[in-house]
Structures are given as structure tokens and as C-alpha cells.
């Protein structure tokens, strides 16, 4: 069926043309949004990063045993995280990035600015202890979390992760991945000063 030109169709301005541009605009917007995300990832944003929902909330209730045989074999509980600013570090002897982070933690311990508590996640006490013996022990207390219940309560997805807890036991900062000297200097150390005021 061909349209016979029965009546000369004048291009009426009333025929709206803008709807034809809608798909173009929508697609351009999608390209923009996805493109930005891709660029962010290219520049180092971690696509696996899950924004924490625990920021500015009370530390979860937990009570863990310590590592038997350590010089301080005490465990760690939520109640221990009150009174002063503390840094809670989730690690494991199996964790490769923790090896990379460790010198920074040792340095922080040496500066004696904040007590670091370790949660030895999905590990055995023997392996955790051996690891600390080999590389040095920056922790005030070390707790074992063999089944990861405390780690899940903290919303941990991968080691190392660290939480800065204020004197009221409220989580103020979360570091996913190793604490680097830069993160310590630029973010955590100033925040500790601020929280102690």
C-alpha cells in the first residue's frame, strides 16, 4: 500500500517533532552515567566497594576470645571500645593485603597515638600468633573470630578493614583495604585529634 498523494501534505508545525529526540536524549544520558562510572573505575574507584551503613552508629555487640599464648591473651568485646578512641583492624594470617598494611600499623603503634585492636578473622590462633611473631605485633588486644560473626556484624567484606571508634563506641571512620601512611596521615590521625577534643 503506497500513500497516494491525495492531498498535498503541508509540513504542519503542529506535528510535534520533539518526541523523536527523546530516545536520543535518554541514550545520551545513559552513556553519560555509565561513562562516568567507567571513568571512575579507571581512575581507581573500587567497583566492589560497598558503602558502609554503620558509619556513625554504635559498634555492634560482640564478644570474642583472645589468642591463647599471646603476651596479652585477653579477648575483645564491644564494651572494650568505650572510654577512648580506638582503631579496630580486621585481619588474618591468610590475608595478603594485610602484609602490605602491617608496617603502617607497627608505625602507628610506635607513635602511640591510638590503641589498635586486632580481630583475627577466619583464622586459627596458632597461625595468627605465628604471623604476629614473624612480623611484629602492633595490637593492644587481639581477638579471634574464626567463624566471622563479628566480621559480619561489622559489615566486613574483605580483609583488611579498619574502623575508627570514638570514646562513646560509635564508628566514625571505615577504611576498606590497607591503611596506607597517607590514609593515616591525612584522614585517620586528624580525625583522632578531632574526636579526642
Amino acid at each position: 500500500m503506497t500513500d497516494a498523494p491525495t492531498s498535498p501534505e503541508a509540513p504542519s508545525p503542529a506535528r510535534k517533532r520533539w518526541p523523536y529526540f527523546v530516545p536520543l536524549i535518554v541514550i545520551a544520558a545513559m552513556f553519560g552515567i555509565f561513562g562516568k562510572r567507567l571513568l571512575d573505575v579507571e581512575r581507581g574507584a573500587d567497583p566492589r566497594l560497598i558503602p558502609t551503613v554503620l558509619l556513625d552508629t554504635q559498634v555492634p555487640a560482640f564478644e570474642l576470645e583472645g589468642l591463647p599464648g599471646r603476651s596479652d591473651p585477653r579477648g575483645l568485646a564491644a564494651t572494650d571500645l568505650k572510654g577512648d578512641v580506638t582503631l579496630v583492624n580486621v585481619w588474618g594470617s591468610w590475608c595478603i593485603a594485610c602484609v602490605q598494611e602491617h608496617p603502617t600499623l607497627l608505625q602507628i603503634a610506635k607513635e602511640n597515638k591510638v590503641a589498635i585492636h586486632g580481630i583475627d578473622w577466619r583464622d586459627t590462633p596458632d597461625r595468627g600468633l605465628a604471623w604476629l611473631k614473624q612480623r611484629g605485633d602492633p595490637y593492644a588486644r587481639v581477638a579471634q573470630d574464626p567463624h566471622g560473626e563479628a566480621a559480619i556484624a561489622f559489615g566486613v567484606t574483605a580483609a583488611p578493614e579498619s574502623f575508627l571508634v570514638d570514646k562513646n563506641g560509635v564508628i566514625r571512620f571505615k577504611q576498606v583495604g590497607p591503611i596506607t601512611p597517607e590514609v593515616w596521615r591525612d584522614q585517620i590521625a586528624p580525625l583522632i585529634e578531632q574526636l579526642r577534643k
Binding site: P51, H147, E149, A151
Partner: protein, 154 residues
């Protein structure tokens, strides 16, 4: 012969979906275990990009499955277990996102697209030129009448 096809078909369709639950994790009570499986299928493994904790072999998924079962045994409802994981990991952990301020676009987009599509379609149908077909010419009328006649005689 038919049976052979049936068996082949059954093998293809009845294979269970991938699962990672280990026998040691399972609860002895079948009802509770079924509930745990259901909850696990609603929770996303936080270390993997798009697997449920029921399917994932990641260690943290294992820990989460064990915790789900522990809470169910302790008397939590399915929703309470999911709420707990949500309180720890936020939206990421839910495979079915909640309806909230930050997910409005997600939930409403299909409906908006449908409404938008219907609107565009209506516009196009309305704007379509509805020229009535030209009336028959005298020759055409005569030809039609002739045809009509032959048809009746037959």
C-alpha cells in the same frame, strides 16, 4: 524410545540450580533448612558481584549461610534474618532492593517508561492522517455490480 527422550528432557530441566551449601552446613530439620535456603537466595554475597550466598563458594558466603541458619534456629523469622544482614551491609546485600528514597528511580523506571511509551503511541496514532478512501469511480461501480451479478447467477 519415548522414555529415553523423557529422561533426557528431565535431565535437562530438573537439574537443580547451582548451589554451594555444603552438607555440613545443613540443618537437620528440613523445614528450617528450607527456610534457610529461601533466606540465602534473597541475600547477595558481599564479596562476589552477583551471586546469592546460596550459590557462592566464597568463604564469607559460607559464614553468612552458617549465620543465617544459626539465627533461624535461634527463632528469628526469615524477615528478621534478612533485616539483620541489611543492617550490616545495606542495600548491597539484598537481591531484591527495598522501596526507599534511593531506589525510587529503580522501581519506578519501568512504569514511567510504559506510561511514556503509551503516551508517544497515542500521539502517533492520533496524528496519523485519517484520509477516507476516495469514492469509487463510475467504472469501478459498474465492474463491482457486474461481479455481483455473476456471483449470484452461479
Amino acid at each position: 524410545m519415548k522414555l529415553r527422550y523423557l529422561i533426557a528432557l528431565a535431565a535437562l530441566t530438573l537439574t537443580p540450580a547451582a548451589q554451594a551449601v555444603e552438607p555440613s552446613e545443613m540443618l537437620p530439620d528440613a523445614t528450617l533448612e528450607a527456610r534457610a535456603r529461601e533466606v540465602s537466595k534473597a541475600l547477595r554475597c558481599v564479596q562476589c558481584q552477583n551471586e546469592t550466598i546460596d550459590e557462592s563458594n566464597a568463604e564469607i558466603a559460607h559464614d553468612m549461610r552458617v549465620l543465617v541458619r544459626k539465627r533461624i534456629v535461634a527463632g528469628d523469622s526469615n524477615q528478621q534474618v534478612i533485616d539483620y544482614m541489611y543492617s550490616r551491609y545495606g542495600d548491597y546485600v539484598l537481591l531484591k532492593p527495598r522501596f526507599a528514597a534511593n531506589t525510587i528511580a529503580l522501581w519506578c523506571a519501568p512504569l514511567l517508561l510504559l506510561i511514556g511509551g503509551a503516551f508517544v503511541l497515542r500521539q502517533r496514532l492520533r496524528d496519523r492522517p485519517t484520509a477516507a478512501p476516495a469514492p469509487l469511480s463510475a467504472e469501478e461501480t459498474a465492474a463491482l455490480a457486474a461481479l455481483d451479478q455473476t456471483e449470484r447467477r452461479a
